[in-house]
């Protein structure tokens, strides 16, 4: 089709007017059909311009549905958008999405298609049977089949397809701070922002639309004698020129949290394409901390509920004006308006002025008068008063409205029907203020009989409301309300200068208004249960009859009705239907709407993408990866890494084609035979200074520190108040008042906090300071029989066995760098831990590797470290302990000294009766009868392998390895009463049906006398 032909296809497009750019035609496809719209269109306005009636099928009954509104409240026009697998987006509202060139969209439901829908057939046949709770009642039996049913139901009734490949776009978060945050850039929001800005405050104003203006985008009114949008442009210009004002468009304020913390989802580039241009962020979450907040969120017009009110062509009255005035689209030929207030008249006036036929305005009021009625009369539009549209007729588009006279309260039909032939029925039941955000922090909305809607309630936040949100109707009231709110909000944020802003004059200042009638569900000649469906919530197919039935079934709380009928559960969150539904519940229960109340409003106001929630915290930035100062060397050496806490530690260093098992066997043997080295920099290190440092250590460790001399190190065990082991490590006495504590790699931050908590809250009188030096010191552990020979090549210091004993430390220059060397061992072999300032670590390591060549110096990773320490029975806190083990449970009673003068943390906890039971799980060694079988870590132990299931479990394996040096497997585990059962057998029944037999033994498998480490 040529562009000219596509242009002609827009049969509902007016030749002039609207805020669209006819010079910029945009091509797009809907369900494969090629169409054209203009820059400035939403997808909805472009579809309506092309006369597309059906945009989807309803969720439950499969009924054809058309576009009903022009904003975020849209229940029907929910589309799948995007051209590729990586850019497909489900459940986009056509009324929210701006049109861009080559946009591809399709309905999210309707199977096999929205035009011909299988569920529609099902809905017509079974419709009467599909009562509320239909799925609960029907498909739950037999229970085992639910998953099968669910697949079918989802396929037939689901909403959109989630993407199957990673998102190609970038998302982002931004923190914002403002003295005044203004939500909504309609007339009230704009005057609020301008007055706040003129007072000098930092202002942030956000609006969900493509352009600022709110309702003025489709208004015929004039402000200061100019078209309303000209006035808007002037305000926008002034705001833009002010460097203290930030303006966000395409930005929906979605959450209002405590302490004026609000979240805004900005759809930065969605108006440009299905993915962001290169280098741009697609969606951005703004996290705003505001001094004051002005809510100017406006209102949503309520449709009226009548029979078959879901046939395409049934629309909300103001949206018709919106399409005509903003987009130059008249969404039909022949219009019937159903209204109970003056607002409904405007769309008839606009329709008429656009040159199309207004069949009639049907007004439920007996004798409406005032300016709107006069304007209709001037145009010769027929007004049928005291009557109601009780039913729409048509299949894929409205073809007639059934109108009857009604009683004064419009609660029942009083006369004969007449058919009005039309293709569009616009209804107005009045306006529901958009109170959503005002309720997020727990404030309940208040029913106003004057407004005939809920208005924001009291709040504890520094918050103002302005404009239509508060129930104001006339534009001049709305404008001055914004000025007051903006000025007050700025004042409260500390900007007391008067803005001097006077409300502009408006063309509708002298409008005479006729009182609205309260109206939700229109009557029918039949009761709701027998009349054609009267839809309340279009997206979830909730009908007036369904709501009434749920009240008869005993659901009286509005929260229960909501959950039973699914009222307001859709992606539109019931913005058009909720109040009507509540009114129907109230009437059925003989209560007022006020008594019935609303359901709870929670963030988000509209759906947001997962991307904007995740922001940049994805892939390599999902969780911080910490590296040691020697990381570059490990990379070059081809190390495989494992994550320990957030540290990326070398796991093992495969050579050539080596498997992991081969690599760690080689590493183990190299250490035991000659010498290896480990990057031990990740251990937590805390510098402790002060005259009370020693006493403090005595209180936080279970063992004694009073006699540790400068120059010496000691292993320490730390417990929580509950007496359970929480951390361990070696602490060195550097000087009488100076200690160097080490912690586990993963426990460093926890231990630091633990020390500070006790110092700051319990023992503030103690003179001691703790400073983390974890990152400052890089640590290379050299281990193996040749460790001393290697170290001697790099230092002039005396590191001989006589002068540098096990558990001592010295200052030494190693490879030309000042170092602190600890003679401690986590392998059971001769071992030195060399600490240098991190910026020298790489140089020292390189020198070490060079010097180590003659000794076959072998780098080893955490896996080999685990095996070597297990051979010696050294525990790893967090692996061999799990927070439920006392030092006695892990056979570390030797590290508990009860005679200390001040006591210590954990003493009382570990001496509770339960902790003193002799049959607690205790840490022991486990030697499998078959030396080549490796027990799985976590395997459960039983004493009798032939016991019937459920078997009596007596413990489990905590560490298990194949030791290359010992030529067999070794394991540690906790076994009930294990320390008294040395030599006894336990059995491990495994998942594969086999059972492994093992003997309880000492945890020390190698060199029990410690001869290897004391050479």
């Amino acid at each position: 089709m040529t562009q000219a032909q596509l242009k002609i296809q827009q049969r509902n497009r007016l030749t002039t007017g609207g805020r669209i750019n006819r010079e910029k035609p945009l091509m797009f496809t809907f369900a494969g059909r090629r169409l054209m719209g203009y820059e400035g269109d939403t997808v909805a306005s472009a579809l309506l311009a092309n006369g597309v009636d059906i945009v989807g099928r309803s969720f439950k009954y499969g009924r054809p549905r058309g576009i009903m509104t022009a904003g975020v409240e849209e229940p029907n026009a929910v589309l799948q958008i995007g051209g590729t697998k990586g850019t497909t987006i489900p459940n986009v509202k056509a009324t929210e999405q701006m049109l861009y060139n080559k946009l591809a969209c399709r309905p999210v439901n309707g199977w096999p298609s929205a035009e011909f829908d299988l569920m529609g057939v099902f809905g017509r046949i079974g419709g009467e049977l599909m009562t509320p709770g239909f799925y609960y009642k029907t498909f739950m039996w037999p229970k085992s089949q639910w998953e099968t049913y669910e697949k079918f139901i989802r396929k037939a009734a689901g909403l959109g397809n989630s993407p199957e490949v990673p998102d190609v776009d970038l998302y982002d978060h931004m923190n914002r701070h403002a003295d005044v945050l203004v939500v909504g850039a309609g007339p009230a929001g704009l005057t609020a922002a301008l007055s706040a800005a003129r007072s000098g405050s930092r202002v942030l104003i956000a609006d969900e639309q493509h352009e600022f203006g709110g309702s003025l985008l489709f208004s015929n009114e004039t402000i200061d004698g100019k078209p309303a949008m000209q006035w808007v442009m002037g305000v926008v210009e002034e705001l833009r020129a002010n460097p203290r004002v930030t303006m966000l468009d395409h930005a929906t304020v979605n959450g209002y949290h405590d302490h004026n913390f609000l979240t805004i989802s900005e759809r930065c580039t969605d108006y440009l394409g299905d993915h962001a241009p290169r280098g741009k962020v697609r969606h951005r979450m703004h996290k705003v901390r505001a001094g004051s907040v002005v809510l100017a969120t406006g209102a949503h017009e309520r449709p009226l509920v009548f029979a078959n009110n879901d046939i395409p062509g049934c629309m909300v009255a103001s949206s018709v004006s919106h399409y005509i005035n903003r987009f130059a689209v008249v969404p039909g030929e022949r219009l019937v308006v159903m209204t109970c207030n003056d607002g409904g008249y405007q769309c008839a006036l606009d329709w008429h002025d656009a040159g199309r036929t207004v069949v009639a305005i049907v007004d439920s009021r007996k004798a409406p008068d005032g300016t709107s009625v006069e304007q209709a009369a001037e145009r010769g539009i027929k007004v049928i008063t005291g009557s109601a549209v009780i039913e729409a007729q048509g299949k894929k588009r409205v073809h007639a409205a059934l109108v009857t006279p009604v009683n004064a309260a419009a609660s029942f039909v009083t006369g004969d029907c007449q058919y009005l032939y039309c293709d569009t029925i616009a209804s107005s039941g009045g306006w529901s203020p958009a109170v959503h955000l005002s309720c997020h922090t727990g404030s309940r909305p208040v029913w106003s009989q004057e407004v005939l809607g809920f208005v924001p309630g009291l709040t504890t936040e520094q918050r103002w409301t302005a404009g239509v949100l508060t129930g104001k109707v006339s534009l001049s009231d709305v404008l001055s309300d914004g000025i007051t709110a903006g000025t007050d909000a700025a004042n409260a944020a500390g900007f007391t200068g008067a803005s001097g802003y006077v409300a502009p004059s408006v063309s509708t200042d002298n409008q005479v208004v006729c009182d609205a009638q309260e109206m939700y569900l229109l009557p029918h000649t039949k009761p709701s249960s027998r009349a054609p469906k009267q839809f309340v919530d279009m997206q979830n197919d909730v009908t007036a009859a369904g709501i009434e039935m749920s009240t008869r079934e005993g659901f009286e709380s509005i929260e229960h009705v909501k959950r039973y009928t699914a009222l307001g559960f859709g992606t539109d969150q019931g913005k058009t239907g909720n109040i009507n539904g509540m009114a129907i519940v109230a009437k059925a229960l003989g209560k007022t709407i006020e008594q019935t109340g609303t359901t709870v409003f929670r963030p988000n106001y509209t759906p947001v993408s997962f991307g904007v929630v995740a922001g940049a915290h994805t892939r390599e930035l999902f969780d911080p990866q910490r590296f040691t100062a020697m990381h570059e060397w490990h990379l070059k050496a081809g190390a495989e890494f494992e994550s320990v806490g957030q540290w990326m530690r070398p796991w093992y260093y495969p050579q050539g084609e080596e498997t992991m098992q081969e690599a760690i066997a080689r590493e183990q043997l190299a250490v035991r035979a000659s010498v290896g080295f480990l990057d031990a920099s990740t251990l937590g290190k805390i510098d402790i200074q002060g005259k009370d440092a020693r006493e403090f250590l005595g209180r936080v460790y279970t063992n004694a520190w009073a006699k540790l001399k400068p120059g010496f190190c000691r292993y320490g065990l730390m417990c929580g108040e509950d007496g359970m082991v929480m951390d361990d490590g070696v602490t060195a006495c550097l000087a009488e008042n100076h200690f160097h504590m080490t912690t586990t790699s993963g426990g460093a931050a926890r231990v630091m906090s633990w020390l500070e908590i006790y110092h700051q809250t319990e023992w503030p009188e103690m003179e001691v300071f703790f400073n983390s030096v974890t990152d400052h010191w890089a640590t290379i552990a050299i281990a193996g029989p040749n460790a001393r020979k290697l170290l001697e090549k790099l230092t002039d210091a005396d590191v001989s066995a006589e002068n540098f004993k096990f558990m001592q430390w010295i200052d030494a220059t190693v490879a030309g760098v000042p170092a602190r060397v600890f003679r401690i061992s986590f392998t059971g072999d001769l071992s030195f831990e060399v600490n240098v300032a991190s910026h020298y670590a790489l140089a020292v390591l390189e020198a070490l590797v060079e010097a180590g060549k003659e000794f076959n110096l072998t780098p080893y990773g955490t896996e080999t470290m685990h095996v070597l320490r297990a051979e010696k029975g050294f525990i790893i806190v967090g692996q061999d302990t799990d927070g439920s083990m006392t030092p006695h449970d892990i056979n570390h009673g030797w590290a508990v000294v009860d005679s200390k003068p001040f006591s210590y943390l954990g003493k009382r906890g570990m001496n509770r009766a339960d902790c003193l039971r002799s049959d607690r799980k205790q840490l022991v060694g486990l030697m499998t009868t078959n030396p080549q079988v490796t027990l799985p870590e976590g395997a459960q132990a039983v004493r009798n392998p032939n016991e019937a299931i459920p078997m009596t479990m007596v413990g489990h394996v905590t560490s298990s390895y194949h030791s290359a040096f010992l030529g067999r497997t070794i394991a540690m585990g906790v076994i009930k009463d294990g320390l008294n059962r040395m030599g006894e057998k336990v059995y491990f029944p495994l998942r594969d049906g086999t059972t492994v037999e093992a003997v309880i033994c000492s945890t020390v498998f190698l060199d029990p006398d410690g001869a290897r480490q004391k050479v």
């Binding site: 990381h631 002060g690 990152d775 760098v817 240098v836």
Partner: protein, 221 residues
């Protein structure tokens, strides 16, 4: 090694190895090259890694010790002890308030030991001085969009209204902790970021990602 107050003071400076040129960032490349952003021909953010500095953490909690420490700092480094959330700078020396009982002093790496000795020669009792030169890396983030990059990274209000030149704050930064000092504000804004050494790669990559849409020039990394 020297001792005073039964505390070990260690000269950790090596004359043999020049640590100033080594980068702290090992892997620091984002999977998209932030400098090659077609959408922005001009870089609006600059990121530079600073040479390793001497860093001393100074601790004191009594008025008396603080006064003594302040006087010693004034004498030997020409800077006063910084008040709450502030910093004082003089030549190579900058002292930053870190918490009610902690200050971070930066100096040339080779001076760290002598300054620690000088300070310890004057103050005694319940104070602590710890050299942590190797524990941190220092980045300079600057350019017209540097403020936006900070806003993406931290919940602290870094607008000049609240974060004028010289102010220092310890705060969260993405999922890490950081010390930020405002060096200059406005169009040529510049900020000093002090990062735990082991988090350097994470922060470096984060900053590349946050700067991507503005265009980035980076030095080091």
């Amino acid at each position: 090694m020297s001792e005073s107050d039964n505390i070990v003071v260690m000269d950790q400076f090596s004359k043999n190895i020049d640590a100033s040129t080594a980068s702290v960032v090992h892997t620091g490349q984002l999977n998209v090259d932030a400098s090659d952003n077609g959408a922005n021909s001009k870089a609006h953010v600059r990121l530079a890694e600073q040479p390793v500095a001497g860093l001393l953490m100074l601790r004191a909690s009594s008025e008396e010790q603080m006064a003594a420490l302040g006087a010693a700092l004034q004498t030997h480094c020409g800077v006063a002890l910084a008040s709450r959330l502030a910093s004082n700078t003089s030549g190579d020396y900058c002292v930053r308030w870190m918490s009610p009982d902690a200050w971070l002093l930066s100096c040339p790496l080779s001076d760290a030991f002598s300054i620690e000795q000088k300070l310890r020669g004057v103050v005694s009792g319940h104070v602590a001085i710890v050299q942590i030169s190797g524990g941190y890396s220092v980045f300079e983030l600057s350019g017209a969009k540097a403020l936006e990059v900070l806003q993406k990274s931290s919940g602290y209000d870094t607008h000049p209204d609240n974060f004028p030149v010289g102010k220092v704050v310890n705060t969260t930064f993405a999922k890490a902790q950081i010390t930020i000092r405002a060096v200059q504000t406005g169009d040529e804004a510049s900020y000093e970021l002090i990062v735990r050494r082991s988090f350097s790669d994470y922060i470096w990559i984060w900053l590349q990602r946050a700067s991507y849409e503005y265009g980035l020039d980076s030095v080091g990394g």
